[in-house]
């Protein structure tokens, strides 16, 4: 199996997800997988290739095409002591399971004390010519639903560590994995077991002048912008949220207290997005330390378009960050 990579080899973001699933399934026999085409086919993106052969058909279940049905089933199995990890073929289809996620999984523990330890893997995001139904960033819908945890890794290390933490967490966790990063981002991972704790942000680049608060594929865009800006003497700090709920307020505040300038960057559309919440918190709690307006960079409020020039226009660009940072640095 390709998930048995050598510890010195570079591992892609996709392989890191695969490894996390494989190791957790080996370690904990309560962990099992459900989803469309994840068994024989190994998943639309081949994350679970070979899993059916290795773990058998009762731990790798090809389901009927019915997201509400298999998420509901995961909730039931989780309450009976199993640890289901379900796959949305694309994050976009999570809308079909919205009711089970927000009304059942999110509220069970609050209402009657029943924990729902499930993980919903949701391949999200654009830049892959997917059009309106295969490119969405639906995290905003769930950001507003108390009782769910949301994670969105940007590197193979975080992808693996956060997935393990999500599987071990006693709550429903939606794991947003970015399709654009699957085969593009690689790194060497530690040999030994590790987790990345939920709720902890990570400073992906230390800088003094402007903070960029972001997550997912946008982290890489911010790092690119940081390189360009470094040549001009503008020192960007890139804060990767990694967990969207519960998010790491302290990490955001301490970065902004240092730089006094904040850019919030995400790929979900702007209005009512996660950036709005972070901006509001900064205004409430860090007003004294701000030396310029809080800037949000996010796509316009439209569906994700298909045609290349439209999608390029829609998605945030390095140049958007560069020009925003220049303006802020001048304050």
């Amino acid at each position: 199996m390709k998930t048995m990579a050598q510890a010195t080899e570079e591992v892609s973001y996709l392989e890191a997800i695969s490894q996390a699933l494989d190791e957790e399934m080996t370690e904990d026999e309560r962990v099992f997988l459900m989803g469309e085409d994840i068994g024989t086919y190994g998943g639309a993106f081949k994350i679970t290739e070979g899993f059916l052969q290795k773990y058998g058909e009762w731990r790798v279940l090809d389901t009927p095409l019915a997201e509400s049905g298999f998420v509901g089933a995961a909730i039931g199995a989780a309450m009976m002591g199993l640890r289901p990890v379900v796959e949305m073929q694309f994050a976009d289809f999570i809308s079909c399971a919205f009711d089970q996620i927000t009304e059942v999984a999110a509220k069970n523990h609050y209402r009657w004390g029943a924990a729902v330890p499930i993980v919903i893997r949701a391949p999200f995001g654009g830049g892959v010519h997917g059009g309106p139904f295969h490119s969405e960033c639906p995290e905003g819908w769930f950001f507003h639903s108390p009782g769910l945890k949301l994670v969105a890794p940007s590197t193979p290390y975080d992808a693996k560590g956060l997935l393990k933490a999500a599987i071990r967490d006693p709550n429903p966790v939606i794991y947003f994995e970015h399709k654009f990063l699957y085969r593009r981002i690689k790194s060497v991972l530690p040999k030994e077991d590790f987790v990345v704790p939920l709720g902890k942000a990570d400073v992906k680049r230390v800088g003094n002048d402007v903070s960029v608060i972001t997550y997912g594929a946008m982290v890489h865009l911010a790092l690119e912008a940081a390189q360009t800006l470094a040549n001009e003497g503008i020192d960007l700090e890139v804060v990767d949220l990694r967990t969207l709920i519960p998010f790491d307020k302290e990490a955001i505040y301490s970065s902004v207290r240092k730089t006094s300038k904040a850019i919030i960057l995400h790929e979900d559309n702007k209005t009512g997005g996660i950036g709005a919440e972070i901006a509001a918190l900064l205004a409430e709690d860090c007003f004294d330390c701000l030396d310029g307006p809080i800037v949000r960079i996010a796509p316009p409020d439209t569906p994700v378009p298909f045609s290349t020039p439209l999608e390029e226009f829609f998605l945030p660009k390095t140049s958007d960050i560069v020009s925003a940072a220049r303006k802020l640095a001048a304050y």
Partner: protein, 332 residues
């Protein structure tokens, strides 16, 4: 029943026209596949290869005023409703002249004026919507009908069942269908449902259902006609299961190694174009040189489409902002 005997109920010209649409669908989708392989089309390409008779048959059975909510393997329905090969190829190439002006790709196109609902990826999402269109016809006392469908996979979703139930309870003028092509992506029927035939689902809702040979355009047409007539007469919805086989991968990137080769070989003999050609010969409808003439015509139409699409402009970035809200409500 002997195909040629039942096909005699169809007017010669109608049958010939359906044959031409089968050919045009095949040629257009083959061209789309070729463009995809060349990297000229980005994103997903789902074809109706080997299943063309379903959309061609049912769309030919409808009146112009009726509504179609097509499935993602119903290219023939678009052609019959007057979408040109140029428009369709422009859609696939993300051009401004495509029905969605570049905002969406592939078979995700629609046009309210031509009575075709835009497909939603989320399978079966359009079935309750189709029932709603039929409800409007019923409320207004119009004799129009809606024809809407999904795949075998799509019949597992709640929206399918909710649409079936509502349509039956209110005796709505809608025909709901399933293209049963044996697979939902890689998932075979036995992992999707515990019933031998999708049509069994209709009984649960008190709706008549019929199994139809989906590769026989004459059978599709005649059965669709009957179901449409029932709906138009106020007798309520019908469910049709078109038995067929997906002859290509789920989308063109998928080699479909999970499908037994033998199954494909068997179904290849039942190719809808082959069957229709035999039928036309048997009925003596095809005159000398007819097939060659169709070859020519279809090829020209597809190539004209390619030329139109290639010469069409791409949209410009800011056009993404257009059309989020309506300024007026068009209807059909």
């Amino acid at each position: 029943m002997d195909v040629a005997v039942t096909a005699k109920e169809i007017k010669r010209d109608d049958l010939l026209q359906m044959y031409q649409y089968l050919r045009l669908t095949r040629a257009l989708e083959d061209r789309i596949t070729a463009l995809y392989r060349q990297g000229r089309i980005v994103g997903g390409v789902y074809t109706s290869h080997g299943m063309e008779a379903i959309a061609v048959g049912y769309a030919s059975a409808l009146e112009r005023d009726d509504i179609i909510a097509p499935f993602h393997r119903d290219m023939g329905a678009f052609l019959i409703r007057g979408f040109t090969t140029g428009e369709i190829l422009a859609q696939y190439l993300g051009k401004r002249t495509g029905p969605s002006k570049g905002k969406d790709g592939n078979v995700h196109m629609g046009d309210i004026k031509r009575g075709v609902f835009g497909f939603v990826s989320h399978l079966a999402d359009n079935l309750p919507v189709a029932a709603g269109a039929a409800l409007a016809f019923k409320i207004r006392g119009e004799s129009r009908v809606v024809f809407a469908g999904t795949g075998d996979g799509g019949t597992s979703r709640g929206d399918f069942h909710e649409a079936m139930n509502f349509a039956a309870v209110r005796k709505l003028p809608v025909v709901l269908f399933c293209n049963n092509n044996q697979y939902a992506y890689s998932t075979p029927l036995r992992l999707q449902m515990a019933i031998p035939n999708v049509v069994d689902r209709a009984k649960a809702y008190g709706m008549p259902g019929e199994i139809v040979d989906g590769n026989d355009v004459a059978a599709v047409y005649l059965t669709a006609k009957r179901a449409i007539a029932r709906a138009r007469a106020g007798e309520g919805p019908t469910f049709l299961e078109f038995k067929t086989m997906r002859m290509h991968g789920h989308s063109e990137h998928d080699p479909a190694k999970y499908v037994p080769r033998k199954l494909l070989e068997e179904w290849k003999k039942k190719d809808p174009i082959l069957i229709t050609e035999q039928l036309l010969k048997q009925l003596g409808y095809a005159e000398e040189g007819y097939f060659q003439e169709v070859d020519e015509r279809v090829k020209n139409e597809v190539e004209a489409g390619v030329e139109f699409a290639e010469q069409s402009p791409l949209p410009e970035g800011p056009e993404v902002l257009e059309g989020v809200f309506a300024t007026r409500a068009d209807s059909h």
